[in-house]
């Protein structure tokens, strides 16, 4: 039997080594899984992890796919540190897309450098407004933010559906459920020629750095950490729990809203009935796999994005069904989350002598 023994302090070595172990274990699990599927494991693993990155286009696509995950993951990580459970980032993303995209449509064919910043600001406001509802209901009426934020996700999705099926349809689009394609002034600039990598990726990197500075260098970051680990101590120190709830939820809403508008004003280019394949939920995993640290979230977001690209690629190159991708992704995440145990614990063989 194995036994966990608490380390006197967290192991720095293991902080860097544990993802390596996790990857090794995932590869081993992958060999078993793909052998069962009667696919050459080497080819499958190559298709998953290496092939998507063999072209410049592939690498830029990694950035495109990771952008919303990183943006939302970073913000959620702050909330999770303070034990504020915003699991409705998907809804806040949708509201961001509606608000930002709505501005873009209202200013259709209006030229000017200010159109895009206005869209971004509207999206941030939209995401924050949607997150303000659980914040208000939690601080004022004590209503649990898990439920409120989750339920509002469904409401947001239906609201978007109503808009693109009804009033916001493209007038020249035969009543199909999609908006006009945004004009150039309402579209994010591309930062690598010939690719889809857009300004949103740079924004995401900026948010990573800014958040890092905020939590490590400012009083707010300190308060978040204290409230999260010892709420009572935080209250004695005079930190307001309500203020932290408002702050973390609004920050989460702002980043999710931003992620929403960079998707629609970036790679999508218009409003559609569905604009996110669950980025708001996936970002929760990204936040934890990144150990709630901005830099960790950046890496975790890229890895998660790679696993999606790899899954598509495995379907294209090897005809592996999507179901296998899901199982493999699950395994990868299990291993990554499990191996972090090594940072705080030693694993020992259980001996009979003790007790």
């Amino acid at each position: 039997m194995l036994r966990l023994e608490r380390r006197p302090q967290n192991s720095r070595t293991m902080m860097y080594l544990s993802p390596v172990f996790a990857l090794a274990l995932t590869l081993a699990a992958g060999v078993v899984l793909f052998s069962i599927m009667r696919v050459d494991p080497a080819e499958a693993l190559y298709a998953f992890f290496i092939e998507p990155l063999t072209t410049t286009y592939g690498i830029t696509e990694l950035g495109v796919k990771a952008t919303p995950l990183i943006l939302i993951g970073v913000a959620l990580a702050i909330g999770f540190r303070a034990s504020v459970w915003n699991i409705g980032a998907e809804g806040q993303l949708t509201l961001g897309a509606i608000a930002g995209g709505g501005v873009g449509l209202a200013l259709y064919e209006v030229e000017g450098f200010w159109v895009l910043p206005l869209m971004l600001a509207a999206a941030i406001a939209g995401g924050m407004a949607w997150a303000a509802i659980p914040a208000f209901l939690r601080t004022r009426f004590n209503a649990n933010e898990i439920l409120v934020s989750l339920m509002l996700t469904y409401v947001a999705t239906l609201l978007l559906s109503y808009l693109v099926h009804g009033p916001w349809r493209d007038p020249g689009g035969f009543n199909f459920p999609e908006s006009r394609v945004f004009h150039d002034a309402a579209t994010l600039p591309i930062i690598v020629d010939g690719s889809r990598l857009h300004l949103g990726f740079a924004l995401a990197l900026f948010v990573v750095v800014a958040t890092w500075v905020m939590i490590s260098r400012t009083l707010i970051g300190f308060q978040v950490r204290v409230i999260g680990s010892a709420p009572r101590a935080g209250q004695y120190a005079g930190f307001s729990q309500n203020a932290i709830i408002w702050l973390t939820l609004l920050f989460g809403g702002a980043c999710a809203g931003l992620a929403g508008v960079v998707e629609v004003a970036g790679p999508i280019g218009q409003l559609l009935p569905s604009i996110s394949p669950g980025y708001g939920f996936t970002a929760i995993i990204v936040a934890f796999v990144g150990r709630l640290h901005p830099l960790g979230v950046l890496l975790a977001g890229l890895l998660m994005a790679l696993s999606y690209l790899g899954g598509e690629n495995a379907q294209i190159s090897l005809n592996l069904p999507l179901a296998v991708t899901g199982v493999f992704q699950g395994l990868l995440l299990f291993m990554l989350l499990a191996c972090d145990v090594l940072i705080r614990y030693r694993i020992r063989l259980r001996t009979r002598s003790a007790t």
């Binding site: 966990l4 469904y154 069904p321 179901a323 899901g326 145990v341």
Partner: protein, 308 residues
């Protein structure tokens, strides 16, 4: 609304609420022990496909339900090992379990698509089942519906009337104190998590064997998430969770009826109603903070390590 329509509507609400009751009550026990498992959707789907496959291969409804429960427990065991054995983050592991379960069920069900099953038999009691109104309303359901009615009763009795229930709550409220008294915190959490898995699996079996007897990928369509929300909605009380499931199911069905009546409101707004109603009712019942705090397990989601 005539009596006949009323009865029929209530019957529809019962079938819509039953899977939610199973999954939410199971998750309630898990959470009461201090473990937050967000992987309900994944466990439900694994249960659904396993139940359907069992009926397909050995044509025995009881075994199919048991197999679905076992499948739910197995997936819950993966989760429990990671979060209890290896101290992994509960929120993230639960979400990973959902991704895993969606993939696994699709993989297992590849050859089950397009196969028909008649559905679980209704329990017919001579004479009583033929009564007008009461007959269809009370005495003409399949066994799982009756089980879902008994479940909150059993769980409420277990939690508040038995010593084991007291210990389970103690573990969820303060694992350090429970450990100091000598209760096996980790073992109890394992069991609570497995129970949650079994009930999610059974909810899945209800979907694929009774609600819409077939297997198609992703057929739970988000019901696992609703179940999670209902536990919070019910403030960790079995009967309130049960009522929540009926409220949610009820409004879902009523908005369909309203549409069929020809109400001139965009259907998207009608579809929002169950979600908005859940929030509104939660706000109304949450206003008294002391009552909520007493029910919410204090240690939910927090890792425990019995270090000396």
């Amino acid at each position: 609304m005539s009596l006949e329509i009323l009865v029929a509507t209530i019957l529809t609400i019962i079938t819509a609420a039953t899977p939610l009751v199973f999954a939410a009550t199971g998750e309630l026990i898990t959470e009461k022990a201090g473990v937050l498992n967000l992987g309900v959707e994944g466990m439900m789907l694994t249960g659904a496909v396993t139940g359907f496959a069992t009926v397909f291969f050995i044509d025995n409804a009881v075994l199919a339900c048991l197999a679905a429960m076992a499948a739910g427990m197995l997936t819950a065991l993966i989760f429990a090992f990671l979060v209890l054995g290896l101290q992994a983050s509960q929120v993230a592991t639960g979400l990973a379990l959902t991704i895993f379960g969606i993939g696994l069920s699709a993989l297992l069900g590849q050859n089950m698509v397009g196969i028909a099953y008649a559905g679980l038999p209704k329990l017919y009691i001579p004479f009583v089942s033929d009564l007008p109104v009461l007959g269809p309303l009370l005495f003409n359901h399949d066994a799982l519906v009756y089980l879902s009615l008994a479940l909150p009763l059993a769980v409420a009795w277990f939690l508040y009337r038995t010593r084991a229930g007291l210990i389970l709550r103690a573990v969820g409220d303060s694992h350090d104190a429970a450990h100091a008294i000598g209760y096996p915190v980790i073992a109890i959490r394992y069991m609570a998590t497995l129970f949650g898995g079994a009930m999610a699996g059974l909810a899945g079996a209800y979907l694929s064997l009774s609600y819409s007897p077939m297997w198609v990928e992703n057929m739970s369509a988000g019901r696992g998430w609703i179940a999670l929300a209902l536990v919070v909605f019910g403030t960790w009380r079995p009967w309130r969770v049960f009522l929540g499931a009926y409220l949610f199911g009820g409004i879902t069905i009523l908005q369909l009826h309203a549409q069929a009546f020809g109400i001139a409101v965009a259907s998207q707004f009608m579809s929002m109603l169950p979600y908005i109603a859940t929030i509104v009712v939660l706000v109304l019942i949450s206003r008294d903070p002391t009552r909520i705090r007493l029910n919410a397990p204090a240690c939910i989601g927090k890792p425990f390590h019995p270090a000396a």
